[in-house]
């Protein structure tokens, strides 16, 4: 396991390099001149040349990349023009809220997705199954941001139970309770939408496992049905579902952009949207880099868990 972990950790390095190349290229290949874009109305030929030299834009692309990448490694993400502060400071400040939101949404997604998929499979073709199928169909078909708005109009406007936006009540005591009250709606909305895919896949996978011979063996051993379903079928289904859960982290991190916008959550997603409209390129680069790295780490985690759960892969990796 340790050897595999190290092996897998080393494998993430080329992935991160690839990601950084893509992020760099997208920004470097911007049509027009970033310097002009940054300067906007203040762009005079002299200003532009000065800024180009400052940004290193007059040097070859490959050199620019290495400068940029080595700066990243030393924690220098550059300076945000719109906010007039180091990009890293801004990112670190917003990382916590995003991780909190995405993490809670993932918990909702995993719990809800696995349980409802399991239920639907066991109760196949009953009203439970059909109800859940309809529910997940809406889940995969509805825009997450719209569901968020609908939640606000129900729980805030109509019922007045939950606050509509922010992470804390303004000028409040910033207590844990206050945080949780603010977290409930965005986390559940995001998790609910993400769970639909998991629920569908869990159902399909469970139905396939329930037909396998080893489930019949479990029944032939006299196992209670709950044990046959959970200990045997579900345990096997889970092995195949773990990587999907890792991929779903990508959906959650992407969806966080909408949800943070709808609920005014002070995370990286909302920052990115603002940075794009102000064309704050270094901030966008930094934000995308950080979130993509988190996603890579999520997938790493999923891989390690799957590795621990599935003895068959362990052998092939030696």
């Amino acid at each position: 396991m340790l050897r595999y972990t190290i092996h897998r950790l080393l494998l993430t390095i080329p992935v991160l390099v690839g990601i950084s190349v893509v992020v760099f290229l997208i920004m470097a290949l911007i049509p027009g001149d970033p310097a002009t874009a940054i300067l906007g109305a203040f762009a005079t030929p002299e200003n532009t040349t000065k800024l180009r030299a400052e940004l290193g834009l007059d040097r070859p692309l490959i050199e620019q990349y290495f400068t940029w990448a080595s700066n990243l490694l030393s924690g220098n993400f550059g300076r945000s023009y719109a906010l007039n502060r180091p990009v890293l400071d801004e990112l670190l400040e917003r990382l916590g809220p995003t991780l909190l939101l995405a993490g809670s949404a993932m918990c909702v997604c995993v719990l809800l997705g696995l349980i409802s998929g399991l239920l639907a499979a066991v109760k196949q073709y009953t009203w439970v199954d059909q109800g859940l199928t309809l529910f997940t169909l809406i889940g995969i078909s509805a825009p997450a941001f719209w569901l968020g708005l609908m939640a606000v109009s129900l729980f805030t406007v109509q019922l007045g139970w939950l606050p509509a936006s922010g992470m804390y009540t303004p000028y409040g005591d910033e207590s844990l309770g206050d945080l949780l009250v603010h977290l409930v709606m965005p986390a559940i909305t995001l998790g609910l939408v993400a769970s639909s895919v998991i629920a569908r896949l869990t159902r399909t996978s469970m139905l396939e496992q329930l037909r396998q011979d080893y489930v019949r063996t479990a029944r032939a051993k006299g196992e209670r049905e709950t044990a046959a379903v959970i200990k045997h079928a579900f345990r096997n289904a889970l092995v195949g579902l773990i990587p999907v859960l890792g991929l779903q982290a990508g959906f959650v991190l992407g969806g966080a952009v909408y949800i943070e916008t709808v609920f005014q959550w002070p995370g990286i997603g909302r920052m990115l949207v603002n940075a794009i409209s102000t064309r704050d390129i270094l901030l966008v680069q930094g934000g995308v880099m950080i979130v993509a790295t988190i996603y890579v780490l999520f997938n790493l985690l999923a891989d390690l868990i799957q590795h621990a759960l599935d003895p068959r892969i362990q052998q092939s990796h030696g």
Binding site: G18, I19, V22, I26, M27, L29, P31, A121, Y125, L137, I138, I140, S141, P143, F145, W146, L149, S153, V157, T204, L207, R211, Q212, D213, Y214, V215, R216, T217, A218, R219, A220, K221, G222, E223, R224, E225, K231, R235, N236, V239, A249, G250, L253, G254, V257, Y258, L272, V273, I276, S277, I281, V284, V288, V291, Y295, V296, L309, D310, P311, R312
Partner: protein, 641 residues
């Protein structure tokens, strides 16, 4: 007019069989039609502002769905917005499909460095959360509908590339492609003529399952203000504008979202249907999964009129296959009994009902599609088929246990041998975990597994086939069962291993027989299912021969092998190779066993029997011969009479 079934027609017919996808198709058709005729509908101009009539609620006169904050008619705006969303969504989907499929085709066809180069790029794009990548692209090109379209298309390219590459690789190795290549077709010709037509269904399935996503994603970018820019409006940007009015005029944001929801639901319903038709492997569990026990239809009471000394008495057992509303019998009134300590062989060709018999005994036959329509299975005089599930579960694995054919499939792949063995011990005996572990170890050594301590921690795939089957035997014997049902336990094994496992089974049976005399318990009774008459002669005292779901001959092993009475038994024996015999006349039985539901009337064997006459069309019962043999053949009845 002659009706022709073209592939396209067949596709529509099969698609329409899925009612939900028909609903999706109709909804989508309706939306398309509305969008097409929008310019000719008597609607106000979507962009004309009318501040006097702002924020009207739905169902006000002149404005069915109300107005937005500039007094623009919402219905008109929704229809025009849907047009934009549809066009952008579909163009993005087609673009992604085109580029992605091309990459996948080329990578899968040429392989080598082209493949690894292309796929490394694709994998790198997939390492991003894809909404984020779309944002980054929009950030670079600047907000705008066309840029949003680009972004969404690019983000979805890897998905198509991967799927198509996988399908291409599996096709490239197939014979017709190889033949075309050897035949000198150009790369372009092979790609276009041989591969593309076969890959097309894969592409269509991928399109149909991603189109919904693409619409959602473009709507998302517009919602964030990065897609459609005023005055152009798509559903997403309308929703984004309406968001500010959530507290005062919720309908302005509710309605566009509802339209997106309906649009994407119909796309997804249609997509699921298309996928089921074109790629049946992906069909999400259309078959019902087997229930904990076989469904037993009749409520007949135990046939107490015949007191039997049998350990396991099977009476009139009839099991049917329920397929497309039709019940096809697989077993027809199967009768036999297993005495204490006896080993009964059940033989016959594949498909004559041996395994179904075995599984029906403890109600383990997969149900649906199987169901037991009549008959009883009595264990010490108690009908176990109709016991409540919990009591039946107490019998399974304790008093009646099973060994199945394929030991790899029947063991749980993600649990260790030890875990699986201890599970069955602790399920039926109240032992501490330490005691059950010791018990498991002694069982493993009893089935002659070397170094059982290390094997306990092994997973099924780490053992050889013979070892796995020994583990299955250990599991079956763990709770000292009274009846052991072995369903072709040696068929999946190599010949040498077969012999070892057989001698193990035989030895274990002998030891339980010896033990039984001292402990005063009845010995282990075995039902041994096989198609190998050689195996039968080594370990079975009695034989039941099955054909077309019926027992056609029953008697002592020795006498049946020496003088078979039923024509089928005779034919089976004629196929068996005997040492020292003349090999020239080793022949099979002409024809194949009848399929379920196609059993002939009268004697099941009458279609393949050389001695069949018209009288064989009449139903025939098992006839008791003076020798004690039972035979289901009219000819023997006559000879007997």
């Amino acid at each position: 007019m002659v009706e022709k079934t073209t592939p396209a027609l067949e596709f529509w017919q099969r698609l329409n069989r899925n009612r939900l996808s028909t609903v999706g198709l109709l909804m989508l058709g309706l939306i398309f039609a509305l969008c097409l005729i929008t310019p000719w509908l008597p609607l106000p101009d979507p962009d004309v502002t009318d501040l006097a009539n702002r924020l009207k609620t739905p169902l006000t006169s002149n404005h069915w769905l109300g107005t937005d904050e500039l007094g623009r008619d919402l219905l008109s705006r929704l229809l025009w917005g849907t047009r934009v969303s549809l066009v952008v969504g579909f163009v993005a989907t087609l673009a992604a499909a085109l580029v992605g499929s091309l990459i996948g085709l080329v990578a899968g066809y040429f392989q080598g460095w082209i493949d690894s180069g292309l796929m490394r790029g694709v994998d790198t794009l997939m390492a991003f959360p894809y909404m984020l990548l779309a944002l980054a692209i929009v950030a670079a090109f600047g907000p705008g509908l066309l840029n949003a379209l680009f972004a969404i298309a690019i983000v979805n390219v890897p998905f198509f590339a991967r799927t198509v590459r996988g399908a291409t690789i599996s096709l490239v190795q197939q014979e017709f492609v190889l033949a075309a290549r050897i035949g000198g077709a150009s790369h372009f010709g092979v790609l276009g003529r041989e591969l593309l037509p076969n890959i097309l269904p894969v592409i269509v399935v991928t399109i149909s399952t991603t189109a919904g996503w693409m619409i959602l994603e473009t709507a998302g970018l517009s919602f964030l203000g990065l897609g459609a820019q005023p005055p152009t409006a798509d559903l997403g940007s309308m929703l984004g504008e309406g968001r500010k009015l959530l507290f005062t005029a919720p309908h302005v944001s509710t309605l566009p979202g509802l339209v997106i929801l309906i649009l994407v639901i119909s796309l997804n319903l249609l997509g699921d249907g298309v996928r089921d038709v074109l790629d049946p492997r992906l069909r999400g569990g259309a078959l019902r999964s087997p229930q904990p026990r076989t469904e037993v239809l009749s409520t007949e009471l135990s046939s107490s009129q015949v007191r039997s000394t049998g350990k396991l008495v099977v009476r009139n057992l009839t099991t049917e296959l329920l397929q497309q509303g039709q019940a096809k019998p697989l077993l027809r009134n199967v009768d036999f009994e297993l005495r204490p300590g006896e080993c009964l062989g059940l033989v016959g060709e594949s498909g004559c009902g041996k395994s179904v018999t075995a599984l029906s005994l403890a109600a383990l036959a997969a149900s649906p599609p199987l169901q037991i329509t009549s008959g009883t299975v009595e264990l010490d005089g108690e009908d176990i088929l109709r016991l409540p599930l919990r009591l039946l579960q107490d019998i399974r694995g304790k008093r009646v246990s099973y060994i199945f054919q394929d030991p790899l499939a029947t063991l749980n792949p993600v649990l260790t041998i030890g875990e699986q063995l201890i599970q069955v011990i602790r399920r039926h005996q109240s032992l501490t975990s330490k005691a059950s572990c010791a018990e498991a170890l002694s069982l493993l050594s009893k089935v002659r597994i070397p170094s059982p301590e290390t094997r306990m921690k092994a997973y099924p795939h780490q053992l050889s086939g013979g070892m796995r089957q020994r583990v299955c035997i250990a599991i079956a014997l763990a709770n000292r069962p009274e009846v052991l049902i072995a369903d072709e336990p040696t068929t999946a094994l190599d010949v040498t291993i077969q012999a070892e496992v057989l001698s193990l089974l035989n030895d274990l049976r002998q030891t339980t027989l010896e033990n039984s005399q001292t402990v005063q318990r009845t010995g282990l009774s075995v039902l041994f299912i096989t198609h190998d008459l050689g195996v039968v002669s080594t370990i079975c005292e009695k034989v039941a021969v099955m054909y077309a779901g019926q027992i056609v001959e029953f008697g002592e092993t020795q006498s049946i092998l020496e003088s078979p009475e039923h024509p089928y038994t005779q034919a089976l024996l004629a196929c068996t190779l005997r040492l020292g015999a003349n090999h020239k006349v080793l022949g099979g039985i002409p024809g194949t066993p009848p399929p379920p539901g196609g059993y002939p009337s009268g004697c099941g064997f009458n279609t393949r029997c050389n001695s069949a006459t018209s009288i064989c069309q009449e139903p025939v019962n098992l006839i008791q011969l003076p020798s004690g043999r039972q035979v289901r053949c009219v000819l023997k009845q006559d000879a007997n009479a």
